[in-house]
């Protein structure tokens, strides 16, 4: 056994000890944390369990949609928009189509407008289902998620019946819908209207008055109406803070003025209010869908604008005119008029705006998306400042920031 030379046991006396410095812990929340609901990074400075400050890094899935759009004919941009907020892609699609229709001056027939309203409201329901049920999961309650997720599945089946796709729907066309609502689609929508309330009530019973859920969400991540406005909040997050602003009411589009619905308003702008506003909005959306499907007007489902409306496929096979126009539109041979349009729709998250500049070519000269998630996420460090890490997770969850829309 070799001799081990022991180092002198040199303990410094108290006066020699360095002063205890309070250091803040730096914690990376994300980029791929299951609770960040997407790919974004938060570098948090923590004092023990308390968040002192935070800084975000975004852009992990930035795909330059605005740049790509500058080379694409107008109808091809639809496929870019539904990859933004993929939880409610029909709203993105319809918003884009309405922007182009505004530029072109196309009047869409009532039937198409009503079908659009049905699809947009179903999309809003799926969007809120995700947000609210995942909020439950983040507090540790999985059952509610399980119950409402099956209803989202049913909505996806309706999408599938209407356009063939489920998630990135590419639904509709410039000038109307791609096809009419089939009888199977109407039956599925009616079934959904009948069966959804029971499930939604179940979620409410599980969470609304649940002591743990209330303790974890009330006064968590609050934002005042004034700060929310300054940060550019819209949609459920702004309404939870007590500001009555809904694009559907203020600037009605696609016949929203025909329907009777209420705009739920919160008070304190905390996580619980955001949850409640979204919950109530699902009831209102269901009400709108019910009215629209019961009063669905007869008539054509697309506008008489052959130069811009991509003809239905079965007509392309049968009619020469349709084939010619199909070809011309697909090859992008028809120019749009020059002009400048801003059109906003009430997305699942808030005001989704499309700012389109056309120079009279076949593609936009400049296209800018006003994406609500991009706006919300900026306020996140301020909202979770001073709260604990577990509260910060719920704040983020209730803001409903969608990574695809954040980065576009």
């Amino acid at each position: 056994m070799a001799d081990i030379e022991l180092l002198p046991h040199n303990v410094p006396s108290n006066s020699e000890l360095p002063e205890l410095v309070e250091e803040l812990t730096t914690l990376n929340l994300g980029p791929t944390h299951p609770a960040t609901h997407g790919i974004f990074q938060n570098v948090l400075k923590m004092d023990g369990e308390k968040i002192v400050s935070g800084e975000q890094t975004i852009g992990y899935i930035h795909r330059a949609f605005e740049k790509i759009a500058e080379r694409r004919p107008f109808y091809q941009i639809t496929t870019l928009t539904d990859r933004m907020n993929y939880c409610s892609s029909p709203i993105n699609n319809m918003g884009w189509h309405m922007t182009v229709e505004k530029l072109l001056g196309i009047e869409v027939p009532k039937r198409a407008q009503y079908i659009r309203v049905i699809m947009m409201e179903l999309a809003r329901i799926t969007d809120h289902i995700i947000c609210n049920s995942i909020l439950g999961v983040d507090t540790g309650a999985f059952t509610g998620f399980l119950y409402v997720m099956q209803k989202r599945e049913e909505v996806y089946e309706i999408y599938e019946e209407v356009c063939g796709a489920r998630l990135t729907t590419n639904m509709g066309r410039v000038g109307g819908m791609e096809r009419d609502l089939s009888s199977a689609a109407i039956r599925k929508i009616n079934d959904f209207i009948k069966s959804f309330p029971a499930v939604l009530r179940e979620l409410e019973k599980l969470l609304n008055r649940n002591r743990i859920f209330m303790d974890r969400t009330i006064n968590v991540g609050p934002i005042s109406a004034e700060r929310a406005l300054s940060y550019g909040f819209t949609g459920p997050n702004l309404r939870a803070a007590g500001v009555d602003y809904d694009v559907r009411v203020m600037n009605p589009y696609s016949s929203y003025e025909d329907f009777d619905f209420e705009v739920p308003i919160g008070q304190s702008g905390d996580t619980f209010d955001r949850y409640m506003v979204r919950n109530e909005e699902m009831w209102q959306s269901l009400k709108i869908v019910e009215q629209a499907i019961n009063n669905l007007p007869e008539g054509p489902y697309y506008a008489d604008a052959p130069e811009f409306y991509l003809p239905p496929k079965n007509e392309v096979y049968k009619s020469m005119e349709a084939l010619i126009y199909h070809f011309k539109i697909v090859m992008g041979e028809i120019d749009a008029p020059a002009g400048e349009v801003y059109h906003a729709v009430e997305g699942g998250n808030g005001e989704l705006g499309f700012y389109l500049i056309s120079d009279g070519g076949r593609a936009p000269y400049r296209l800018h998306f006003r994406r609500p998630s991009f706006i919300y996420y900026q306020a996140y460090p301020e909202m979770c400042k001073g709260s604990s890490l577990s509260d910060a997770i719920l704040t983020m969850s209730s803001l409903n920031v969608i990574a695809g829309e954040l980065d576009a």
């Binding site: 975004i58 852009g59 930035h62 330059a64 605005e66 740049k67 790509i68 500058e70 080379r71 505004k102 530029l103 700060r227 406005l229 300054s230 940060y231 550019g232 500001v243 602003y245 203020m250 600037n251 090859m331 992008g332 041979e333 002009g339 400048e340 349009v341 801003y342 906003a344 005001e351 705006g353 700012y355 500049i357 076949r362 000269y365 400049r366 800018h368 006003r370 991009f374 706006i375 900026q378 306020a379 980065d407 576009a408």
Partner: protein, 166 residues
């Protein structure tokens, strides 16, 4: 209710020939101003007792490379919830001097919107607390939304428009 005419007259009275190029494309009041007047103009709209244009909807940039002396345009969209009134304000900048004052003092939302505009067009917002790239990587040394960076390779010959009868 607020009309385009009313606001246009109010702005002309206050700012005189510093506001110009009034238009109403698709019903939205659009006007241009200079970069010296943009912040006072936004402040005027925001603090005005009657107008109450307190919401900044969007900031973005546009590039017109052929428009000498006005190559870049910064576009602001604002909204008054009280009167449901929207307004669009444009400021043209020359490529040689691409500075504009920041609006972060008026709206918290301007912070990221200006960073995005800087990231894609290289427009410099003077006085911005943290003007750096937001969606692209920090090491990038060009501004990708500028027209000098086309989407497709210009040297490719199989995609010439003329071959497709365009």
């Amino acid at each position: 209710m607020l009309t385009n005419q009313e606001v246009a007259e109010g702005l002309l009275e206050k700012f005189g020939d510093q506001v110009f190029d009034f238009e109403e494309p698709y019903g939205l009041l659009t006007l241009s101003t200079t970069r010296e007047e943009i912040i006072p103009l936004m402040e005027f709209l925001k603090d005005h007792k009657h107008y109450q244009v307190i919401f900044l909807t969007d900031i973005t940039g546009v590039q017109y490379p052929d428009n000498a002396g006005k190559e870049y345009v910064v576009v602001y969209h604002m909204h008054s919830f009280v009167h449901n009134f929207r307004i669009r304000i444009k400021v043209a900048l020359s490529a040689a001097d691409i500075h504009i004052p920041t609006a972060t003092g008026l709206f918290a939302s301007a912070n990221w919107m200006e960073r995005e505009t800087y990231d894609f067009f290289g427009i410099l917002f003077d006085g911005h607390p943290n003007l750096r790239r937001i969606l692209n990587i920090e090491e990038m040394d060009y501004f990708p939304m500028r027209k000098e960076y086309p989407m497709e390779d210009a040297t490719r010959e199989d995609k010439i428009d003329a071959l497709f009868g365009r």
